[in-house]
């Protein structure tokens, strides 16, 4: 029996020796000499010539410097896992996705592209947001969890909104979109951090707050010109804005220059008759060239400039269909573009 056991032992050893030539798995195809020398089966760094860049996981950064065993926990190299989370624990609690390379590099865990990350997110960093600590916005007890953040100003700045007293934002019902007055690239809330560009305070509008916000009301003010300038509109006599039916949107004719001058009325081309384009462009100096009655701009005359003779015009238009009459209104009716044809 002992002999038989010995025989079996020998046979097993023989075949085991044949079958166990490679501990690297059945699909391993590299030559032994890629890693080993005749000195033994340990890795001989002097002869090691395997190019890891030919695998699905090219080595870069710190991965070049770690022990092979940290990833290849068994000698079957193909069993090594290749996802970040297989080796690196996720302290972000799955709030930053599974691809570490979106923020980190293989060289360092240092996040050196904070601005780039934010450009590709919902909130590019500018102004004071650029100098803030990450944890001022990404608040979490672990400091590294990135919960879904609101990107509306008030999501983070409710405390400032409620604490402001001059003027009192809550009392006066200010918009909770801070960027209306405080641009997102501002460094401070007041001074250069205040932006009234939605209603530029320049030229004739270089005013004190109280000039418009007379009652201390900072919201709901009507930004239309007439809200402040209706009296001037009503009083205008040259031309008489009311009689002439001018719109009370001052911006259509006036700039922010003080004194309401110069003024233009470019809508004239579309609304009535082309004087800023076509044949009449540059042919007039003053509104009163045509509008002979300054108190009523509905009245106009073509004949002040066009020195026609009625007899000759009558003859020229004789026999034309559509009727003809020698007066300015009829001139306009047939020549709406100011052309002879």
């Amino acid at each position: 029996m002992r002999i038989l056991s010995f025989l079996i032992f020998l046979i097993v050893l023989f075949f085991a020796g044949r079958l166990a030539d490679s501990p690297h798995g059945p699909d391993f195809k590299l030559s032994c000499s890629t890693c080993h020398s005749p000195g033994g089966w340990h890795l001989d760094t002097a002869v090691y010539s395997f190019d890891h860049n030919t695998t699905k996981f090219p080595l870069s950064g710190q991965h070049n410097n770690i022990s092979c065993r940290q990833c290849h926990t068994t000698l079957v190299f193909s069993q090594a896992k290749s996802q970040c989370v297989d080796c690196h624990k996720d302290v972000h609690e799955a709030t930053a996705g599974s691809d570490c390379l979106r923020c980190h590099t293989s060289v360092s865990w240092l996040v050196n592209n904070i601005n780039e990350i934010h450009r590709l997110s919902r909130f590019p960093l500018m102004g004071a947001h650029r100098t803030a600590d990450c944890t001022q916005c990404h608040k979490s007890e672990s400091m590294v969890r990135f919960d879904v953040s609101g990107v509306n100003c008030i999501d983070c700045h409710m405390r400032e909104f409620q604490a402001t007293t001059n003027p009192n934002h809550s009392t006066f019902g200010f918009s909770q979109d801070c960027s209306t007055c405080h641009p997102v690239n501002a460094i401070q809330w007041a001074g250069s951090g205040f932006n009234h560009n939605f209603f530029p305070l320049s030229k004739a509008h270089t005013l004190q707050c109280i000039d418009c916000h007379e009652t201390g009301t900072y919201s709901g003010l009507n930004p239309d010109c007439a809200a402040c300038h209706q009296p001037e509109y009503n009083a205008a006599k040259n031309p008489d804005h009311i009689v002439s039916g001018f719109p009370n949107n001052c911006k259509l004719c006036h700039s922010l220059n003080p004194g309401w001058k110069p003024a233009s009325y470019r809508q004239h081309d579309n609304q009535s008759f082309p004087i800023y384009s076509g044949k009449h462009d540059g042919e007039w100096n003053s509104c009163t060239d045509c509008h002979t009655n300054p108190s009523n701009y509905k009245v106009f005359s073509c004949l002040n400039c066009h020195e026609h003779n009625q007899a000759s015009m009558d003859g020229k238009h004789k026999g034309e269909a559509g009727g003809y009459s020698y007066n300015s209104a009829e001139c306009l009716r047939c020549h709406p573009n100011g052309k002879a044809d």
Partner: protein, 540 residues
């Protein structure tokens, strides 16, 4: 019968050593010379023993040159005798022992005739066979980070420091005990009072646990630990146990979650849960799935109850899929008049799906979708339950493609879309790049990039270029870049142009010591912002 055994044995060995022959002087050749050893390759080392002397021919004589210290079936590891200098390919001669002696040796010590190759391997195998059940493996690192931000604006400059300690000591002293930790300490210059007020404002312990291997398939841990199968839960204080059965793993956790204000220890936040995982792998495919259930409480009241499913696979060649799904099972209906009522629910709070596919050798595409709500802890965050955006679903898509035009030229494009219901506008971006690796002659890599983005309050275009180069076989790497940024803030009628300079360097000071430094300067018409970030890291 005894004779039969000897005959069979000799036959076996004979087959094993088939083709080998023994001669008076066995020729060999130096295959490799190391600082201590000379390796000599023979057709066969039959007849050569450890301690034998090998010779080199010189002017018709044989001069003793090497002493055999180890050998395999075809090679000898030798120690050169004093004064002997050899190089690869040099001829070496051995004087093998007689066949009789070999037979004697075989008969007396049959075990040494086991057809394994190198005696060092024998040693290794012996060691392995005698190796402890658990083998010690220790790794870790200490790091120091510095974050400096300063500008010419009225915003205060800041200097922050962060230190981290990471340790993964498995089976210490080949025992069943392991320790793992990951701890960070962060503080800002001038704000030390925050640290003095509460050390946990600065000290964050993500992992500090002792693990014990009950056996090869069962582990139990105590302390604070992040469980990779429950990564969305984060660190857990308490006991965790896992049992592996072939392709399956099952585990349970019981303890508490960290304090929700400072990440300290809070036993009032009791929680427990269990998970089941399944892994399978073939030569070219794999699947990994896990399903977890968790119940979290605050002062014994249910705070949150949910299930978490994670799955990844590579069922097709060159395809990788990863997905997670988190579903809340508990809801507390807030009613200040009649009292709150708990309710079972099935409310997905987080979905993440990603797919990566290598279409051809040179073309890779990937895409991901994620939809996430902030977690609602009904007992813990009662005060903020009404915060609208905290309950909203933020959705995002991300698509990427890269194409290797030539060996060194790569083009890539990436687009993203993110939207939260309360956002005024969806955020969109489109990023493309062209990279030329290793420009001939200068070995510099160059990347040109362009970005277009639309966010809630601004639109922007960014053009950039970046150069990088490695020195000293990659031990020292440098890079520099420039970006031109054109932002428009339509709501504020503002246009912002920025010139951004970037520089970075990394230095592998030693195998386990690295240093990296990054600079970014942003220059606007009036304002400029500068940022220096540095890291020093020592691994062990």
């Amino acid at each position: 019968m005894k004779q039969l055994v000897v005959i069979i044995f000799v036959i076996l060995i004979g087959v094993e050593l088939f083709g080998q022959s023994v001669s008076e002087n066995l020729p060999g050749q130096v295959s490799y010379v190391s600082s201590q050893n000379v390796y000599v390759k023979f057709k066969s080392t039959e007849g050569i023993s450890v301690g034998d002397t090998l010779f080199m021919p010189s002017q018709g004589n044989l001069i003793p040159a090497l002493k055999v210290s180890n050998l395999s079936s075809s090679s000898c590891v030798c120690i050169p005798l004093p004064g002997i200098i050899l190089s690869a390919s040099d001829l070496i001669l051995a004087r093998p022992n007689s066949q009789v002696k070999q037979t004697e040796a075989i008969t007396q010590k049959p075990e040494i005739k086991v057809p394994v190759v190198i005696s060092q391997t024998d040693t290794t195998k012996t060691e392995e066979s005698k190796a402890p059940e658990f083998k010690q493996r220790i790794k870790g690192s200490i790091s120091a980070y510095s974050y400096s931000d300063f500008s010419n604006t009225t915003a205060s400059n800041s200097q922050r420091f962060r230190y981290t300690f990471s340790l993964d000591a498995r089976n210490i002293g080949n025992s069943k005990f392991s320790v793992e930790s990951y701890i960070s300490f962060k503080h800002k210059v001038g704000e030390w009072i925050d640290v003095k007020e509460n050390i946990f404002n600065a000290l964050k312990i993500y992992t500090l646990a002792v693990k014990y291997d009950l056996n090869k398939t069962t582990q139990i841990s105590a302390g604070r630990r992040i469980n990779q199968r429950l990564s969305s839960i984060g660190a857990m204080d308490g006991i965790q146990i896992e049992k592996n059965l072939k392709n399956f793993a099952m585990g349970a956790v019981v303890g508490s979650r960290p304090d929700y204000t400072n990440y300290g220890f809070d036993p009032n936040l009791f929680q427990y849960g269990a998970y089941l995982a399944y892994n399978s792998k073939s030569a070219s495919t794999f699947t990994e799935s896990s399903l977890a259930f968790m119940q979290q409480t605050n002062h014994s009241n249910t705070d949150r109850r949910f299930v978490y499913l994670q799955h990844s696979n590579s069922l097709l060649k060159n395809l990788y899929f990863f997905g997670t799904l988190e579903v809340d099972l508990y809801k507390l209906n807030i009613d200040t008049i009649n009292g709150n009522t708990p309710q079972n629910t099935f409310n997905p709070t987080g979905v993440f799906l990603s797919l990566r596919y290598k279409l051809t050798k040179n073309l890779n595409v990937s895409g991901s979708y994620d939809a996430r709500k902030n977690v609602m802890y009904y007992e813990t965050f009662k005060s903020s339950i009404d915060s609208a955006f905290e309950r909203e679903l933020r959705q995002g898509f991300r698509l990427q493609a890269s194409y290797r035009i030539t060996r060194d030229l790569m083009f890539g494009i990436q687009s993203g879309y993110r939207y939260l219901k309360s956002d005024p506008h969806p955020s969109k971006n489109l990023y493309s790049y062209l990279t030329y690796s290793q420009i001939p002659g200068v070995n510099i890599s160059m990347t040109l990039s362009a970005t277009y983005l639309e966010s809630n309050y601004m639109n922007g275009k960014i053009l950039g270029g970046n150069l990088s180069r490695d020195f000293f076989q990659g031990k020292f790497s440098t890079g520099m870049g420039y970006r031109f940024v054109d932002y428009r803030l339509p709501e504020s009628f503002i246009t912002i142009k920025q010139n951004i300079a970037e520089m970075n360097l990394s230095w592998q000071m030693a195998k386990n010591i690295s240093f990296s430094l990054n600079y970014e300067g942003t220059f606007e018409q009036q304002n400029s912002y500068n940022r220096f970030y540095a890291q020093f890291r020592k691994r062990f």
